[in-house]
Symmetry: C2
Subunit: 364 residues, 2 copies
């Protein structure tokens, strides 16, 4: 599989939906496969909250594969022998695109908590700049899970002429207050870490690692399903001598602490806050004075809406509601609830059915 990593720099003022402006933005991205002569085989994949542009193949640190490697590659659901796949790190994230860790040119200080509030529409608008740079006229498909699915939906609404298919997976057109509540707990955990320093931890030479760790532990639970945790860990006790901390009794506790610790090594606390706020604020109809019909009637692409049985973070009723609205407002769409025991994370893992559905949709 041909794979490229690149940085796109836009020196035009970038205006965020919150009305703030940055004089320039940078987006790191990867591409997989090759673009054809008339540039009609391009697919955009959008990452979820803590994902990055590294969607397929080995990651840059060499010891993992990209978050959608089971879906993207030669012969896979998104076949890189046929399609040219673009994957961008979102604005406000911490993997290289402009975000809180970027420097303010004038002061040579990091933006920190002063980075503009981002939203799903900002991501789509910034991806559109990259699309123009790559001289792609129309995406064959925009696809993503979770926060990535919201971007796929937003593309269909914001740039109806620029997208043929939108695959909206384990996502919603309107984040639920339960999700907002869980995100707020995570943010509160981070804010109350004494190393957070109101978001200016870089200037203070501190890192709110403990806060990030605990916030991730909570997030991690919400990405799994009760069944999955039960089957994988059950009530097994952590063997003495293998505990990450003295206070740990059960394997599930040890696992969460371990994974949370890893996460806190690389993720940025301000990005955590920004990205979860973007998720909370997502309500498609809000952009059209509360009118879902106005939003959906703009769509010209086909929609594929997928949910998973064991996903309790974005349960199927979100997808069902979107499908109902699509039927009401005459959008060509299919909704399917798939079996998936990994909870919300099910969207990451290929199954024969899931892969075939994506492949058929993309080839339709």
């Amino acid at each position: 599989m041909k794979k490229n990593s690149a940085v796109f720099k836009s020196d035009v003022n970038f205006k965020f939906a919150c009305n703030k402006t940055l004089p320039s933005i940078e987006l790191v991205y990867e591409t997989y496969g090759e673009i054809n002569a008339d540039k009609t085989n391009a697919v955009l994949v959008c990452h979820a909250f803590s994902g990055s542009h590294e969607a397929a193949g080995l990651t840059s640190d060499g010891n993992k594969t990209g978050w959608w490697d089971e879906i993207i590659g030669p012969g896979k659901a998104i076949d890189t022998e046929k399609y040219f796949v673009v994957s961008v790190n979102n604005l406000g994230s911490c993997y290289g695109s402009s975000g809180p860790k970027s420097m303010i040119m004038e002061t040579n200080e990091p933006y920190g908590s002063k980075f503009p509030d981002v939203c799903v529409l900002d991501w789509v608008n910034s991806q559109k700049l990259l699309m123009d740079e790559l001289e792609i006229d129309c995406w064959e498909m925009v696809a993503g899970g979770s926060l990535g699915g919201m971007q796929a939906l937003q593309w269909a609404v914001s740039y109806p002429e620029k997208i043929k298919r939108s695959a909206i997976i384990a996502a919603t057109a309107q984040t639920s207050p339960q999700n907002i509540a869980l995100n707020e707990v995570a943010r509160q955990i981070i804010r109350k870490d004494s190393s957070f320093n109101n978001g200016e931890y870089i200037s203070h030479n501190t890192t709110p690692k403990e806060g990030l760790k605990t916030a991730r532990m909570l997030g991690h639970i919400t990405y799994l399903s009760e069944t999955n945790i039960q089957r994988r860990f059950g009530r097994k006790k952590q063997a003495p001598g293998t505990k990450v901390a003295e206070e740990v009794n059960f394997e599930i506790e040890n696992y969460l602490q371990y994974k949370g610790d890893q996460f806190s090594e690389f993720f940025d606390a301000n990005s955590y806050i920004l990205m979860t706020k973007a998720m909370d604020e997502y309500n498609l109809a809000d952009q059209f004075d509360g009118s879902m019909s106005e939003a959906l009637e703009r769509i010209k692409s086909k929609l594929l809406i997928i949910s998973f049985t064991s996903d309790w973070l974005f349960p199927s009723w979100h997808s069902r509601r979107l499908q109902k609205d699509c039927i009401l407002y005459d959008v060509e769409s299919s909704f399917i609830e798939l079996e998936g025991s990994y909870g919300h994370d099910s969207f990451l893992f290929a199954s024969p059915e899931y892969s075939k559905i994506l492949k058929t949709f993309l080839g339709s």
Copy 2:
């Protein structure tokens, strides 16, 4: 309704299941109604994680009612015109019974994190001491929700001759790893509060209020249901000027911060850790070398097992599993899943059906 508050002091060594011993224990308790001449009308109600002995009537601060006031009282499901109801604050809690805030006699220092690990069996054993003190030979019913339901089940197993009916509501015979995971996040939040001082915050003159607050915010979400949050708060924004903190956008965030803050004013952090650990450790079969048949075959009382449709902390499959085991091992039991939109908290609120079922069971 005749109501009494009292303190029971036992000066006999109290041995915990963890093998530690206290030279004496104190239990604060309330009683509602009057005991009959032959003491055959006594009911024990057991509280959940953060509950107290104040189950019915006005609470001692005068501005609330007890946690089961909708169920206990004249003419209510547990009718205080007919029954004498006993409600005890659990060992290890922080409402007056012996717990981490109690003083070690020799040193005149609080136990703090050195208070013995408590478990459901310890609570039942301590309640048995009070039962003897009150010269009650047999409970007409032991009833409770959540952690209180585990005590009701434990009573049936540990003291089969001393209980006629056990009402096990929104509970389980074996805490799930998802619950353990959520509890561990809450504990981690508390431990990482810089005022926690490894549990010795009283000696350090600090209080881990922020940790308690955030832990409660998480707990609070798990006690509600997605539907309930959706209906009650939706995506309504908190009006400017009414926000508890600048970072709050949505009503649900404001509400959780407010309630968390209140909770942190009175609850004890070491009790939080002790009580959630007791919940995590609960696995009835463990006490009988993993044999559920051995546990259940001891039971001589009738069981009523109730779950609620919207409870995702102790979902109905826990109750269904217990009912299946009861049928397998010949325990007289009924299981019913009730409609209840309050999530786990549904057990606190009377509905005509729920009340009638409890009343009928108690009168049977």
